[in-house]
Every structure is written in C-alpha cells, then in structure tokens.
C-alpha cells in the first residue's frame, strides 16, 4: 500500500488550468521532490495535499484513505513553510509543542516529545526564546522541529531553504538528508533548485505548466531526461542543445559538423528528421590523440575558473556550447579547440515534440 497516492489531480482557477492531471504514487519512506520553475503548479499541488487548497478533480490518498475534504489537521501531515510561519508570540518550546497541545496530549508526554525533538535538531538551548530572537537557520530548525514532533505519515516542505544564505542552505540540506535517512519518513518537498532536488530526492517529479514532465530517480532524470525541458532544467550549467538534421552518417548540425550517432539511436530516427542534440557540459573533454567520430570544433569565447572546474563557453558552427573541464586545462579565448564525448553522453530530442528519442 502506498503511503501517498495522488490520482489525476486537477486544479482550475476560472478558465486557467494550473494542474492538468497529476499522478504520483509514493511508497513509505520516499523523498519526493517536486521540481519546477515558478508557476509550474508545484506549490499548488503541495497546498492541495496539505488541504490549504481544494482540488478541482482527482483524489489523494494517504495510507489508503482518501483525504480530499478532510480537514488539514486530520490528514496526518505536517508542513514546513517557506516563511517558517512560526508563532512569534510563543516560545520555541511552545511552538514545537503546539500541535501536541492542540491534540490534548498530556503535558508530561508532550514535554518528553519536545525535548527529544529539540535534541535531535540541536536546539535544546533555544527552547525558552521567542522566534524573533533566533537566526534564520535556527528558525528553520524550529519549523522542522514543529513538524517532526507530531510524527505524521507525510511531511510537506515548501521551499524550506530558499530564505537561507548559500552556506547555511548547503548545511541544512545535508541535515535534512541525514534526518530523512535516520527517521525514514515520507516527504514531499517543493523546490525550484535542481541541486536540492538531485541531492535530497529518492524520486524527482519535474513539473511544467501543470503537468509532470518526468518522474524518476535523480539518476534517471539526470542521465535520461525524458524531454528537452528536463534536460535543460536539471544540471548546472544546463545541457548543451544543438540543432541539426538526421542524415545517413549521423546528425548534421546546422552550419556544418556531422556527429555520428551511437548504435542505440541509429535505427530510431529516420533520415531527414529535425532533431536537437544534447550533451552535458561535464561530458565534454578535449580531443586526445586517437581520432574520434564525435568531434565539436569550438571557437572559445569565454573561460571562467570556478575553482573546482573550468567553465568554457564558445560556439560550434554558430551554436552555443558550454563545457566543464578540469581546472588546470590550458585554454585561451579566441582559440579553436576540438571537444569530444562518449556515445552514452549523447541525447537526442525530437525538434517538434521535444521528447527524448531512443
């Protein structure tokens, strides 16, 4: 039995359809990340699960029980808000214990649960403070603690890290992962940050325009993007996309070069078809001694050293290409450099439907 089952959920605001039939089934202990840019419907979906918005159609089941129409407090869920939404007039202790207090849990038991949670999140020393006296990271922990203490079936996170600075965001991300591994809870997490999605999720649902573009493990989404959109959204810098036409020898890029197709793609696409060829920047490397079938002659325009890697931007037959190379690579602006890549790194998308081929 699934911990959380989302069946054909739709949401319309007047004539605008923000969710166009979402289907996701989540096993207990899974960490699902809803990934998408703003306006894709991911927060709406989370709010529908939380009960803060009503679905226009479809069903949601938690532990086999339909929860549509059930009051949020009776759904056995807890939510961490983007703004934390702590109760500013109550102490941290009471903030965390509020859910138990409202559910008439005896004071002794409540006290034990609050202490346990505070210990887990290392905020025991903050229990007597008010939220206003805490730093952003501490507030974040209290908000997580408030959700954890109730031990609900499903946790909902609405962009919980977006208000933290970069360093704290990474630390908290790791902390969240640790908590998930330790507690084995079922989590639905909304974000627009693909790195958060890649690192935290056991499964990612990439959303766009109220639909799921791809639902899969981080590896699947990264290695086998189902659509051009997913390919461009996941990964930083984004995947290189080159326009071309399929010929007998491979893909003829607009403006010249021919790239040989690997065997797995040879019989999939007919000659003459317009396609988009995708290669991740980190898959590109300098051409070695041996001759190669897949060579991109790049005119280098910009070279950026980020520290761990060298990000090189240039043009191949007029089309833009980015490559991530080892930091010590000797390259100068204006030179021509041949790049190559493994055949497994080649992605092919239909130019019209933007769906992955092969």
């Amino acid at each position: 039995m699934s911990a959380l089952e989302i069946q054909n959920i739709r949401k319309t605001y007047g004539a605008v359809e923000t969710l166009k039939g979402i289907d996701i089934s989540l096993e207990s202990g899974e960490f699902l990340v809803l990934l998408g840019s703003s306006g894709c419907g991911k927060s709406t979906l989370l709010n529908i699960i939380a009960g803060l918005a009503e679905a226009s159609g479809g069903d949601i089941r938690i532990g086999g029980r339909s929860i549509l129409g059930v009051h949020p407090k009776d759904r056995d869920i807890a939510m961490v808000f983007q703004s934390y939404a702590l109760y500013p007039n109550l102490s941290v202790h009471r903030n965390i214990g509020f859910g138990l207090e409202m559910r008439k849990v005896p004071a002794a038991e409540r006290e034990r649960a609050v202490q346990e949670t505070a210990k887990l999140l290392q905020i025991e020393n903050l229990l007597d403070r008010k939220p206003g006296q805490l730093s952003g990271g501490q507030r974040q922990r209290v908000a997580i603690g408030r959700a954890l203490v109730r031990k609900p079936q499903v946790f909902l996170f609405d962009e919980p890290l977006s208000n933290l600075d970069a360093k704290l965001r990474m630390e908290t991300r790791t902390e969240l992962k640790r908590l998930h591994q330790m507690l084995g809870t079922t989590i639905v997490y909304v974000t627009h940050d693909q790195i958060e999605a890649m690192t935290l999720a056991t499964r990612i649902a990439v959303m766009r325009n109220g639909r799921i573009e791809q639902l899969g493990t981080p590896e699947e989404v990264y290695d086998h993007p189902a659509t051009l959109y997913v390919a461009g959204f996941v990964g930083s810098p984004p995947m290189n996309v080159l326009d071309g036409v399929v010929t007998g020898e491979g893909v003829q890029l607009d403006g010249g070069a021919v790239i040989a197709l690997p065997v797995r793609l040879k019989n999939v696409v007919a000659a003459g078809r317009r396609v988009k060829l995708g290669v991740r920047p980190e898959a590109l490397r300098l051409v070695g001694e041996t001759a190669d079938h897949r060579v991109l002659d790049v005119e280098i325009e910009v070279v950026e050293l980020t520290g761990p890697e060298l990000v090189v931007t240039g043009r191949v037959s007029g089309q833009r290409v980015t490559a991530c190379l080892p930091p010590r690579t000797k390259l100068t602006v204006g030179m021509k450099q041949a790049f190559t890549f493994d055949e497994d790194a080649l992605h092919l998308f239909d130019a019209e439907t933007e769906l992955a081929l092969g």
């Binding site: 869920i77 939404a85 109760y87 500013p88 559910r103």
Partner: protein, 281 residues
C-alpha cells in the same frame, strides 16, 4: 547615522524642540488659564503669567453640590466616559471579527469599502434621519442612544484600521496553526489576536478619542444631565451671558485627563513589532 556633524545634531534637536513647543504651547496656556485669577485673563494687555495661583475652579467643577455647575460637569464627565466607553467596546467587538474576515477573504473587501464610503457623507446629512430614528426608538437624550450613533462612526473606522493590522499577520501562520490542529477560535485566541494586540490597542484609543471629542451629534441628541457629554457641557460654559474663560480652560484640562490616562496605560500595548521573527527576515 553614526557620524553626524555637531551643527547638524544641534539643528535636529532644535527642530524637535520647536515641534514640541508648537504642539505643547496651547496645552500649557490652557493650564495657565485654568489657574489664573479671572482679572488677569481679561486684563489689557494680557497677563501671560498669573500674579497668584488659583486652583479654586477645579473645586467648583468637581463639587458634588446639587444643581451646581460642578454637578452638571461631573454628570457630563460620567456621561462622556459611559458613551465613549460603550461605543468603543461595541466597535471593537464588531470590528475584530469583521476586520479579520475581510482581511482573510479579499473577495468580500468591497463590503468594507461600501461602509467606508458612507464616511464621505457630512454628519449634517445624517442628522435628521438619525434624529427621527432615535426619537422612534425612544433613545433621544439617552447615553445608549448616543453610544449607538457613535458606534456607526467608530465601527467602520476601527474595522478599516484593524484590517490593515490583520493584513500584516501572515496567513501562513494561521495555516500552520490550523494544520497543528488548532480550531478557528483557538487560532484566533492564541495566535492571531495576541499578534494583533498593538493594532487593537491603537484602534481602541483612536475610537475612544473620536467618541470623546465628538460634539455635533452630542449637541443635537442630548438635552440635559441624563445624557449631555463633556463637549456639550464645555460649550454650555461658554454660552452664558458671562463667560469665565478660566472655568472653560479648567473644564478643558479636566476633559483632557481621561484620554491621557488611557493613552499612558496602553502605551505598552501600542508599541508594535510583536510579529517580528515569526516569518523570514
């Protein structure tokens, strides 16, 4: 601004002093008038600083001898406290739920603007209908009747003021409380209303002042000690054949005291900033 030049800080302080002087000078003059001998106040040229200090007028106004000026004044003081107090409490009781509802349901916001629109009417336009209405209900020259009239002035005003107060409290906090299992009333009692306390106190204070200072309706709808309020009583002092300016000033000082006391008492509640820290920032 850590680094201010000396001249600039002198300038700032001088401006502050000037502002304080402009605001406080009439009050000071009012008080001086109330303790000056009558002759000083009618002398030409005017004696700004009294030769002798005379507190007797306070005794006159606060005396409880029957049918004296004091009895009339004290009765009007009590009436004012009753009317303003009742109107304020009733206005808050109506405005808190109304403001919260409008704040949380933007689609019904038009109703509040409709009510606010009635503010555009000058009081004179409503005087006659209100008079007939009160007469029909037998509430003319009655503290309850006057409080009812004031309520129609205060309720829209306080609702509007408190709506902006509730708007400043993030809805997510209430959503979080709801998911934590708190019912509507528990959420309001434990979370929302304590957070709205500063704006509620401000609304109450302004509502009380508005009712306390109201003159036009009080003059029209009251006629004797049973309901006459302070503003009308002070006007009566000025309206006789012989006006004792000192007595009028004394009444003014006494009339100013209750609002000042209330303001001091509520000062703590007026200091806002309680919401900081609940959400980001």
């Amino acid at each position: 601004m850590e680094r201010q030049s000396f001249v600039f800080s002198v300038f700032i302080h001088a401006c502050a002093l000037l502002l304080a002087a402009v605001i406080l000078a009439p009050l000071l003059w009012l008080f001086i008038m109330s303790i000056s001998p009558a002759a000083d106040l009618t002398a030409k040229p005017l004696v700004w600083w009294p030769q002798s200090i005379d507190f007797s007028r306070y005794g006159v106004l606060l005396s409880s001898v029957e049918n004296s000026a004091g009895a009339a004044f004290v009765a009007s003081l009590v009436n004012s406290i009753l009317v303003a107090g009742m109107a304020t409490i009733a206005a808050l009781a109506l405005a808190i739920p109304a403001a919260w509802a409008v704040s949380r349901t933007p689609s019904i916001g038009w109703s509040l603007y409709m009510v606010i629109a009635t503010y555009m009417l000058p009081p004179v336009a409503l005087a006659v209908p209100l008079y007939f209405g009160l007469a029909h209900l037998g509430l003319l020259n009655n503290v309850f009747g006057l409080a009812l009239v004031y309520l129609t002035i205060l309720a829209p005003f306080t609702t509007w003021l408190m709506k902006s107060g509730f708007d400043a409290i993030p809805r997510e906090i209430e959503a979080a409380a709801m998911m934590d299992g708190a019912g509507l009333f528990a959420t309001l009692r434990i979370i929302t209303l304590p957070l709205a306390a500063p704006v509620m106190a401000t609304s109450a204070l302004f509502a009380f002042l508005l009712a306390w200072d109201e003159f036009f309706y009080a003059l029209l709808f009251t006629s004797d000690l049973r309901a006459k309020t302070l503003t009308v009583a002070i006007a009566d002092l000025a309206g006789g054949r012989v006006s004792d300016y000192g007595l009028i000033a004394t009444a003014g000082v006494l009339a100013a005291l209750p609002p000042v006391v209330i303001g001091l008492v509520m000062q703590r509640a007026l200091i806002s900033g309680l919401t900081s820290g609940g959400v980001k920032g």
